[in-house]
Amino acid sequence: MLYTTTSILKLKRDLLKITQILDVESIRKDFPILKREVNGKPLVYFDNGATSQKPQVVIDAITNYYTNENSNIHRGIHTLSQEATNAYEEARKKVQQFINAKHSNEIIFTKGTTDSINLVASSFGKKHLKKGDEIIISTMEHHSNIVPWQMICEEKEAILKVIPINDKGELLMDEFKKLLSPKTKMVAVTHVSNTLGTINPVKEIIAEAHQKGALVLIDGAQAVPHTKVDVQDLDCDFYAFSGHKMFGPTGVGILYGKEAILNNLPPYQGGGDMIKTVTFEKTTYNELPHKFEAGTPNIVGGIGLGVAIDYMNSIGISTIEAYEHELLAYATKQIKQIEGVRIIGEAKNKASVLSFVVDGTHPSDIGMIIDKLGVAIRTGHHCTEPLMNRFNVPGTARASFAFYNNEEEIDIFIAALNRAVTMLK
C-alpha cells in the first residue's frame, strides 16, 4: 500500500484518537505532587474543582521570583523594581491574551474570584443601585456569587431574583427571560457550576440581559481551567476567575471588566498604588487598572499565574477540553455501574465534574473511606447550600477532573467507591 502524506496524517490522527488525545503520562511528570502517596497509597487527586495542582514551571517561577527578582513593583527607580514590574505587567498581558480582552488595563489583579465579585458588587452597587432595583443570580451559584449581592441588596434595598433550574441541573432560560425587566441592573451567573458541572449558555444570557439594559458578571472560576473563554465574543461586562484553579498560585485572581464600565466605577479600596495625588483635602485616583489595585499586590502570584497560562497554552485549551470530556464520559459510565448511585447534575453540556450521592450513605462517610484508599474527592455542600436544598440532599460527593488525571485513576476511584459502599450498606 502506498502511503500518501494525507493517509499517514489520517492514520496518525486515528491513532491519536484511539490512544490518547494528549500524552497524559508525560504531562503527569510535570506535576511533582502526583508522585506522592497518601495513607500508603498512590495519590488520586480528584478535587480539582476546589484547587488544581501546580506544574513544576509554576513552582520554579515562584522560587525564582523570591530568589532573584523580589522587589516592590511600580514607582521603583532601581533595576530590581523595574524587573519585577515588567514581569508583573507581562503577566497581565498574558491574562489579557488568554481571555482575549481588548486592553490590558481591563485586567484587574485581585485575590481571587470571591474578591473580584465583591469588588463589582460593592463598587457597582454603591454608584448604580437604588431602592427597588433588581439583581438576578441563579440557583446554582457558589456562595461567593450570592452573598456579595445579598449584602449590597440589603444596603441599597434592592431585590435579589433567582433563576430556577430543572432536575438535570440546567437553567430554565424561559424563566430567566421572565425575570428580566427594566428594573434589572445586574445579572450575575456562573459559567460552569462547581457542584453540577453544568456549562451555562452565558452568551445567550448576556445578550438577553443587554437587551434590557442590564450588565452581566460571569463567575468563570470553574470555566477557565477547562474551556476557551473569549470575553469579547461573550460580550460580558465582567468576568471573574481565580489563579489557583487554573494551575497557578493561590491568593491571586482576575477581574476582567470593560474599560468604559470600569472607568465609571468608584474605587473599591483606598491605599497605595491606586492614587494619582493625595492631599488631606482631596485625593485623585489612578488610571485603570491601578485604580482597583490598592496596596502591594500578590506580585509572585501574578507572575506565577502568567506562567500557568503559558503552561496551559503549551497543551492547548481545546485539547484539554476534549481530553477531559473523555475522562468525564468514562467516569460517568463506570460510576453508573454501582448500585444506588445517583448523579447530581446531568446537564447536556457539562464540564469535568461528577457529583453524586449513594442511597443509604452519607457523602462524608464515602469521602473519609476513599481518602484512606488514597483518593481525594470533596464532600459536602460545595458552598452551594441553596442548590443542595433544590436537590433535597445534605451534600454530595464530588470528583472533579483535570487534564493530568487518567482512566487508571478513575478505575482506582471506582474500586475505592465500591469498597466504601459495601462497608457502609
Binding site: 452519607h362 462524608s364 484512606k372 445534605p394
Partner: protein, 139 residues
C-alpha cells in the same frame, strides 16, 4: 467504671485492629447498631451543625448524673459519637468537667477532631463540657 477506665477499655478494644479498615468497619457497626437518641430530641436546639455532617446532642440530669444521648446523620461520625457517649454518659458533672479525653488520640482517630474536618465532633465535645459546667452550677 470511671471515665478514665472506660477510655482505657476502648483503647484496648481498638488494639485488636491492625488495619484502619477493620477499625472503620467496627466504628460503622457501632454507628449502625446504636439508636442513641430519642427522635423527639432531634431538634434544632440540640443540633450541632458541622460543614460535613450533623450531630445532635441531648443532656439531662438524672440522680446527679448527666445522661447524654446523641446522633449523627453520617455513620462514621455516629460511631465515634457513640464512643464519646459511652465514655461520658452517666457521670457526675464534676467528673466530666475534670475529665481528660485521650482515647480518640490513642485509637488513631484524632483526624476526626481536627477543625478542618468540621463534622461537628469537636463542637460536640465542647458542648459536653459546657453541659457539665452548667449542671455543676445548678447543683
Amino acid at each position: 467504671m470511671t471515665i478514665k477506665e472506660t477510655q482505657q477499655e476502648i483503647v484496648e478494644e481498638f488494639a485488636l485492629f491492625d488495619e484502619w479498615m477493620d477499625k472503620y468497619e467496627y466504628i460503622i457497626e457501632l454507628g449502625k447498631d446504636l439508636p442513641i437518641i430519642d427522635e423527639k430530641y432531634k431538634t434544632d436546639e440540640n443540633l450541632i451543625k458541622g460543614c460535613q455532617s450533623k450531630v445532635w446532642l441531648h443532656a439531662e440530669l438524672v440522680d446527679a448524673k448527666i445522661i447524654f444521648t446523641a446522633d449523627s446523620d453520617a455513620i462514621i461520625t455516629k460511631g465515634i459519637v457513640g464512643l464519646v457517649i459511652r465514655v461520658f454518659s452517666g457521670h457526675a458533672p464534676k467528673e466530666i468537667v475534670d475529665a481528660d479525653l485521650f482515647f480518640i488520640d490513642q485509637i488513631g482517630l484524632q483526624e476526626h477532631l481536627s477543625p478542618t474536618r468540621s463534622n461537628g465532633l469537636l463542637a460536640m465535645l465542647k458542648q459536653i463540657k459546657m453541659y457539665a459546667i452548667a449542671f455543676q452550677a445548678i447543683k
